[in-house]
Amino acid sequence: MSAVLFFIAAIAAIIGAIGVVTLRNPLYAVLALVCHLISLAALFLLLRAEFVAAAQVVVYAGAVMVLYVFVVAYVGGGDEVKAGNSLRILGPMFAVALAIELFIAMLGTGLSGIKGHGAPYKLGFGDPEHIGKLFLTDYLFAFEVASLLLLVAAIGAIVLARRRRGLDADDVELARVLSTPRPAYTGTIAEGVGVRRVREQLEQVHGGVTELIGGPREDEPEEKS
């Protein structure tokens, strides 16, 4: 029974993976990846990793793929350009070479465990209770770093994908503040790291005048950053 399930899930996973690589339309590629992820979750269940399988379906096939579908719908996919570059031939060759190498490594391994069916099953192996206990005891550092990484990624995505439009037309107050003349380098990173002090010393030596920036300009303020 488990062999039948394994072969069904494995074949579905490999077909899904091939679909991701070969399908022209990115939306169909995303759907093939969903199929692949769900069959991979079935494989995880066969390996008695219940919590990982549940996270795979809920987080991966659920949330992440919805993000993908949104972006594909937003970007429109773009037409896949035709071949002509050398990677078109070298890529599959590299993949096949990698597969051969990994299979040689797998078949020639001294690990006797891969011929067996795994360690004897303990009750509660891989259930949320054990995983949670391990996360909060042995792997607490990894857990905290992962949460920090998620925070950084969320902020980074917002910064990357935000709308850069410049000021709105009715934002008079901010425009007034920004157009008030101020000494050069104030309120910038240059001031923070001490460039301004160096400049002042140079100006004292040469007797120059501190230039003003940000004053009213005659041309239109630039809209795009």
């Binding site: 991701v20 990115p26 590629a29 599959p92 995983i131 709308r163």
Partner: protein, 99 residues
């Protein structure tokens, strides 16, 4: 099933993903192929966790999932930013940083 079969599936998926990263030129699909490779790694981790009867491999698999989610978020943010500037969605055209 012997655990070697799971590793074989993992190897195949990884190689399909690696070939896809090299062949495809749409950055969205390249991200999808990266997901394939990360998932192949996950499958190997969970297989080894089963082999040793310890849950450490499953913990690593979950952490890999977190990393994959972060990678997707930042990558899709980049793609949205590219499309906002009306640049072509094609990694061969985006070669301004080419040395």
């Amino acid at each position: 099933m012997a655990l070697g079969w799971y590793l074989a599936v993992s190897v195949l998926i990884f190689c399909i993903g690696a070939g896809g990263v090299l062949v495809r030129r749409n950055p969205l699909v390249i991200l999808l192929c990266l997901e394939l490779m990360l998932n192949a790694g996950n499958l190997a981790l969970v297989t080894f966790a089963r082999m040793h009867g310890s849950e450490a491999g499953q913990i690593f698999a979950l952490i890999v999932m977190v990393v994959a989610a972060c990678e997707v978020t930042v990558g899709l943010g980049l793609i949205v930013a590219i499309s906002r500037r009306n640049l072509p969605i094609d990694v061969d055209e985006l070669h301004e940083l080419n040395g």
